[in-house]
């Protein structure tokens, strides 16, 4: 038993874990940012094109909503394989951590769009009325009223997205994407090195907890609704 515990903390394993963690953080971090670059505007458009909102537009709203639903309904593992040609066209290869960022981003964009949509819908319509009544343009209303009011909720959504991305990135690892998932599968599953498996899972748990806590902490710091 003590022997097993000692095997969890060998310099070799620590080195592997550290590298895996950095790769995971890289994949998750970059795809999170990219997912918001595309997903945030999509979420905003989903909300403001609703009837009685800033830019009511049934056609755009319906089409966008359908596209987002399709994106969300594809299992990640299938999406990952299906877009290999696209990934290769962008990154030049379909294997490795950088290549994994493409399917991760593509999978997260529709998810982010829905998260953003639900955060923005929480904002009281009265605030939008007030901004418009004060002479704000639609753009000013979005940038200075709608988004700032939703900010705490948006950060909570980002934490959920990040946690999801950690899960997806582990899957991406299965097809040579690197990161903690890759580590668990290569050593833990294929070579029956239980110590690697245990430590990887442990690090993943801590990572997910940390992301959730950071998200909640930031949201609380930004939230002035109660105090």
């Amino acid at each position: 038993m003590t022997e097993f515990i000692q095997s969890l903390f060998t310099p070799m394993l620590t080195q592997l874990l550290l590298q895996g963690l950095l790769e995971t953080l890289y994949m998750v971090g970059v795809s999170l940012v990219l997912a918001y670059v595309f997903g945030l505007p999509l979420g905003v458009i989903l909300v403001v094109t609703e009837p009685d909102h800033l830019w009511p537009n049934k056609v755009i709203n319906r089409i966008l909503s359908a596209v987002v639903n399709i994106g969300r309904s594809l299992p990640f593992i299938i999406l990952m394989v299906a877009i290999i040609p696209f990934t290769r066209a962008i990154v030049g290869t379909s294997i490795g951590t950088t290549a994994a960022i493409v399917p991760l981003t593509v999978a997260a964009v529709p998810f982010v769009a829905r998260m953003v949509q639900s955060s923005l819908k929480e904002v009281d319509h009265g605030v939008i009325d007030a901004a418009l009544a004060m002479g704000a343009s639609s753009w000013q209303t979005i940038m200075r009223a709608l988004l700032p009011e939703a900010l705490p909720s948006l950060f909570l959504g980002a934490a959920v997205t990040a946690v999801n991305l950690v899960g997806y990135s582990a899957m991406a690892g299965a097809i040579g994407g690197g990161g903690l998932g890759d580590l668990a599968i290569r050593f833990g599953y294929q070579r029956f090195q239980t110590n690697v498996m245990v430590m990887t899972v442990l690090v993943l748990i801590i990572l997910v907890q940390a992301m959730q806590l950071i998200g909640e902490w930031v949201a609380r710091r930004l939230d002035h609704r109660s105090r």
Partner: protein, 364 residues
């Protein structure tokens, strides 16, 4: 104390609605929220809008700043035809029309300073100027020292003060208020109303306010419009509408103001040719004239005063008397005519109804 309405209001309308129509929805589910609404609000006035729930008051006030676009009709604010403005022109025009809301609608993400600065930022006012103006406004609404507080840390009354400051930031011609005190307790309501009246007197800003509280109208509105089912059924000086409501909608709304006479104070009497039980309402000039004394002197009737009460309307006395007029039939008739001539609002009381009310009061 002698701030009579003529000195603060000129006859030039600052807001004028002509034949405004607005329908929500289509087909069977459509609702006519506004039907041929026309009204004009004199510059500098405090103009009240009353009506039962669903009468179209909010729709009316939201049409003034185009938060709601009317289907037809004209809406002129400070000489600008609002319905024909381009997007950018409308934004500019809206800066000159402040609005306050029942639920305040402040930005929770901004503190008091930030909320009041918002309309100035929107208008592109330079930072240094914003600072000076916000400080001035904080002072004006009596929120000194609370600049850094967030809305969640303020009481309802304080939140509405922020709402008022924010609405006044760009020095509007008109202040629109949709039930701005409905979410406040009576004490705070009075304070907020006093603030609005003060600001009206000091800056001359015209106020259009919706309220369900008749005493609010009575206290501070110079003029009042009564809405019913999408139409303005009556409009005029508050004293006139309150003392001589013409429409059944107005009478219904004002019933509590008139018919609050406790039935038990009235003795057993029957209306006959020699007795007439009447309720008299005096407002404005008629309230201060010695009308009853003159009545006795000039006509052969004996008014027996059974009940009396004095309220205030816009700082002016407003009296209610229940009087039994006794005398020869001709004299009683003449007395009633005389009272009408002296602008006293006369309601003949229904004796049987009073007897019934008395019984039920005694049974309670």
């Amino acid at each position: 104390m002698n701030t009579n309405t003529a000195s603060t209001t000129s006859s030039r309308p600052i807001v004028r609605l002509t034949d405004v129509n607005k329908t929500f929805g289509t087909g069977k589910d459509s609702v006519s929220a506004l039907r041929n609404v026309s009204l004009s609000v004199p510059q500098g006035a405090i103009y009240g809008v009353i009506g039962l729930s669903g009468a179209g008051k909010s729709t009316l006030i939201r049409c003034i700043n185009m938060l709601e676009r009317p289907d037809s009709g004209s809406i002129a604010v400070a000489g600008r035809e609002m319905t024909r403005l381009s997007g950018h022109e409308l934004m500019v025009a809206r800066r000159r029309i402040g609005m306050i809301f029942q639920h305040f609608n402040l930005l929770n993400s901004r503190n008091v300073y930030g909320n009041i600065a918002f309309p100035l930022e929107i208008a592109g006012v330079p930072k240094a100027k914003i600072k000076a103006r916000v400080e001035e406004l904080i002072e004006l609404v009596g929120l000194n020292g609370r600049a850094k507080a967030y809305p969640a840390q303020l009481s309802g009354g304080q939140k509405q003060r922020v709402g008022i400051a924010r609405a006044l930031a760009n020095e509007p011609d008109v202040l629109l208020s949709d039930e701005a005190t409905s979410a406040l307790d009576p004490e705070t309501t009075i304070q907020v109303l006093q603030l609005i009246r003060d600001i009206n007197r000091r800056t001359g800003v015209t106020v259009v306010m919706i309220t369900h509280e008749m005493n609010v109208i009575r206290e501070i509105c110079d003029q009042v419009a009564v809405m019913n089912d999408g139409s303005v059924v009556e409009a005029g000086a508050t004293a006139d509408v309150f003392s001589r409501p013409q429409s059944s909608a107005a009478r219904r709304l004002l019933r509590s103001q008139f018919e609050s006479t406790p039935a038990t104070v009235i003795p057993d009497l029957t209306n006959s040719d020699h007795h007439k039980l009447v309720k008299l309402s005096f407002a404005g000039a008629s309230a201060s004239a010695p009308i009853i004394a003159e009545l006795i002197r000039s006509i052969a009737v004996t008014p027996n005063i059974l009940y009396g009460r004095i309220d205030r309307m816009q700082g002016q006395p407003w009296g209610t008397l229940v009087v039994d007029l006794a005398g020869e039939p001709e004299a009683v008739k003449e007395a009633l005519k005389y009272l009408e001539r002296r602008e006293v609002h006369v309601i003949e009381l229904d004796v049987t109804a009073i007897e019934q009310a008395k019984e039920s009061e005694q049974n309670d």
